[in-house]
Amino acid sequence: MKTINFLVAVVLIALFMATLPLAVAEDAGKMLNIALGKEPDDLNPIAGTGHGEFYDVIKVYSGLLKSDDKLQAAPDIAESWDISPDGRTYTFHLREGIKWHDGTAFTADDILFTYELLRSGEWTSVFPASSEYEAIKDISILDPHTVTFTLNDPIVAFIERFSLPILPRHILEGQDLLKTDFWQEPIGTGPYKFVSWNKGEDLTFQSNPDFYGEAPRIGTLKYVFVPDESARINLLKSGEVDAIKIDLRSTESLKGANGVTVNSAPSANWYALNMPNRMWPFNMREVRQAISYAIDKQQILDTIFNGQGEISYGPFRQEDWIYNPDIVAAFDPERAKSLLADAGFKDTDGDGILDKDGKSLEFELVYPSDNSERKDISIAIKTDLAKMGINMELVGKSWDEISYDVFRDNVIIMAWGSPFDPDDQNYQNWNSKFIGKESWWNAASYSNPEVDGLLEEGRTTFDKEKRKEIYQKLQSILAEDQPVAFLIFSNYVYGLSDRITGIKPRNAPHGQGNNGGITGEIWWNVEEWQKE
């Protein structure tokens, strides 16, 4: 019986202690807590791919260049830079007196070391963007503060690749980069120093007193990991955290909360219906156009995305500098019907489904069953198409079953989107040379020689006005051809403490998810934030 008495006593004491108020020491202005739904695997800043991915890196690091809120290149480790008239040679003039967080002096050798790590391809499993850096022909250190890069081909968008975070040679040289502890407790040159990482709990940074740029206003930056959205919302409402990301359908749950503002930030993330262009009936342009006219995009935006976003008519948003306003096409079911009639479709057997040459206008759509948004879009489209006499059956598959060839050979709800250089993703997605490759690019198998030509021209034209013309032309052709039926751009939604100033929402890439990660979110410029 003694044991039981003891256990009862322990439980009672524990319950008693739990009710005591918790004294929390906080120097409010100097601490900022961000609740992330997704804990990073490690703090390797080069774990992603894509053009401008390094425009927002973990704050421990910095690169030759960074980007501003318009996603344009801005000085960082390099004070200034020149591009040769032929677009092949980039010369960077480095700041002086930069130190690594461990006190070691930063040198141009560190730059050479980092770019060579990628260029060699030896560590593709650690740096998946490696092969992009094979475009560099030569790197030379002219003097301790001048570095030049020579490219094989002049590619306008390559400037974005110079935001690659620089890694310390004196620590990483000769290490097994796949297994090094460095990614758990990194040392960099950025505005924040790594302090601690309690796995599954939180990640803490301290402002770097030796930072070469403007010192961050917030002294302690802490990311806490809270996978459950309602738990994140509670933490924000109670003031324990200052910033969270939420599902765009959850904006209501933050309405009226004291001291909280909701920020619906734009993203380049577009959704579209992929229609494999070489398969019947999508090999007929009228059918693709008809499907596009038949879908009520506004309704999809309002009901599935809670109105958070904008309708998409092509791969660029209204505020993009190359956006072509002429491509807007209204929801027009009548036009869709006449286009289908033009293509020769009639309901000859009276079963309510159009047919042509004895073939009914019906097909399957594969949707990722673990993604509720894409599932809901699929249902909405099915309903819209049924009104046209098109029968679309829905087939759910998990992402594990959807490999690139399933993605490519099926009608499917696709999502892409890059806020970076217009060449990014568009070069790959509308270019006929990617058809049939073992990759996810150009899933529609879209082929138009004129588009191929424009894409090549666009990536090597340095004149901004000419470039704008090229990409506006591209948008017109895509709008006419409808290789995929563009649907909407979705926003990303955040809950932020109204004590924070310095927030600059900027167009974010596709693939960020709804729970918030360490990079690619509204806190991309957290080193400039202030908290009153």
């Binding site: 039981i4 490690d42 390797n44 499993s125 092969s131 599954g200 309602s230 996810w440």
Partner: protein
């Protein structure tokens, strides 16, 4: 020491290695046959979608993912024999480090949950058996059946809804507050505050097992001659149960606790995932979702060892008290 006991112990211990080997083959096969693409799991779908086939091949080669299954399995077995549990792809660290880092959190949760569970089960069991057949007995019985048939995740979500969302008494996730206090006394309070909800859910979820067990064994004991003797001495019913009947049910009860270890490990996967408790259960869930087979195999092996040890201890306790067991 009794030679028969030693012989029994040796026999039981010798059974462990083949058992572990079998478990490891089974685990490996399950993960090998799953449809998850390990490269996608490793780099993330968004990254992989933007990579060229050449780069993907290079990654597979560098990670050793293109080797045939048996080569991978034997390599893993060899390394385990040398104390190297392999390398976790999602945590980017050695498997054993990752497990050991998470183990204390799980231990804290399961031991607390377990003790509470045993305590509650025993108390309710005693009440029921003393009043066997009464209204309170049938209420407790019904209640336990209902709770036992409720899936743990539902129980967890309900508890979260009531105690953290509606009443706001207890935190709904994590092991510490965001602004965790620095002094160790306050830190302990904070930890206990976070522990109450998940531990109680574990406890209540498993309580029925102990309840049913203690209730039936006391009711059975009540028919024995020594109970009749106790009653004849003039003891009242409470004294009879607490002083005599329960004593004879306690030892097998403890054995039962040893045998329930797997149940608790299973339950903690669900509870930890829901309450964002950074333990082995949450780790298992993450590893399974992202096909980190090295980590999953490490966790499986580790939990198997725990379960086997739990059973071994239970068996030994039995053998120690009841010599008949040794000659089975």
């Amino acid at each position: 020491m009794d030679r028969s006991l030693v012989r029994y112990a040796t026999k039981r211990i010798m059974q462990i290695p083949p058992l572990l080997l079998g478990i490891s083959i089974l685990t490996f096969l399950i993960f090998y046959l799953s449809p998850v693409n390990p490269t996608v799991a490793y780099l993330g779908l968004v990254t992989v979608q933007k990579m060229s086939p050449e780069d993907l091949d290079r990654v597979e080669e560098q990670l050793g993912l293109n080797q045939p299954a048996h080569v991978r399995y034997i390599g893993w077995l060899e390394r385990i024999a040398h104390g190297d549990w392999g390398y976790s792809h999602i945590k980017k660290r050695p498997v054993l480090d990752v497990i050991m880092e998470r183990f204390p959190a799980t231990l804290l949760l399961t031991i607390t949950g377990y003790s509470l569970s045993a305590l509650l089960g025993m108390m309710l069991g005693v009440i029921s058996s003393v009043r066997a057949g009464s209204r309170i007995d049938s209420i407790l019985n019904g209640l336990n059946y209902i709770i036992y048939s409720t899936p743990t995740f539902l129980l967890a979500l309900l508890a979260m809804l009531v105690f953290s969302v509606w009443l706001g008494w207890l935190p709904s996730s994590r092991m510490l507050s965001v602004n965790a206090p620095t002094s160790s006394w306050l830190l302990m309070q904070d930890r206990i505050h976070h522990l109450i909800l998940p531990a109680s859910v574990l406890a209540v979820g498993h309580m029925a097992v102990f309840y049913t067990y203690i209730r039936s064994s006391i009711i059975e004991a009540m028919q024995e001659d020594y109970i009749i003797t106790a009653r004849a001495k003039g003891l009242n019913e409470v004294e009879v149960v607490l002083g005599h009947a329960i004593r004879n049910s306690l030892l097998p009860f403890i054995t039962q606790m040893g045998l329930s270890v797997p149940l608790l490990i299973g339950g903690s996967v669900v509870v930890e995932s829901i309450f964002a408790w950074p333990g082995i259960g949450k780790l298992t869930y993450d590893a399974a979702l992202r096909a980190d087979y090295m980590l999953l195999m490490g966790i499986t092996l580790f939990s198997s060892l725990l379960v086997i040890l739990g059973n071994l201890l239970a068996d030994m306790a039995c053998a120690l008290t009841d010599p008949r067991v040794r000659y089975d």
